[in-house]
Amino acid sequence: MTLQIKTALELVDPELEARWTTRRAARETEILQAILRAFVERPDQVLVDEIIRAFPERAPDDVRAALTRLDDDDLIQTRGGRVDLAYPFSATPTPFVVHLSGRGDRYVCCAIDALGVAPMLGESVRIRSRCHHCGEPIELSADPFGPGPDTEGVMVWAGKRCEGEQRAWTST
């Protein structure tokens, strides 16, 4: 077996894209965006109660049901009254850190999620991680239009998607 190097088109996960497309067009979109904005604006945990309070025109049970659907679709993860994860962000530490200008560091779920933050927000970010082979620190930049020149030679491992998976960086 040999190491395969693939393009983005060859790596597209139709199942994942379909879930995002469905939810972005659905009523849950405003709730998902509120959660993501909370992750962007501050490093604290996002509480289910604050999301409910953000939608006073909707019944609390309606918002809870929407959160359950987002969780079922693996777009967020809720536990103990908190939103632990809302792709690309994670409330718990991961090997992947995105620095948002003026807002500080945020943990993200994997390398590809880290690279998705700049086009998501429309602003430049710094990304930190470590080579999963040698442990060498990796720091690179990305803006809404692509990765910076400091990414030359850096490779990302896109593993077969499974629960809890994290995509790895390597520096060569």
Partner: protein
């Protein structure tokens, strides 16, 4: 990456340059919060 993969040859997946990985991140998250006020 080749050295890492040779140490983990049973892992399913593929390597991709950061430029291609960016395209994947952009496909999933691109524009989701762009221009929105908190």
């Amino acid at each position: 990456m080749r050295a890492w993969w040779e140490a983990n040859p049973t892992l399913e997946g593929a390597g991709t340059p950061v430029s291609e990985a960016f395209k994947l991140g952009e496909r999933v998250f691109g524009g989701l919060l762009r221009g929105q006020e908190p």
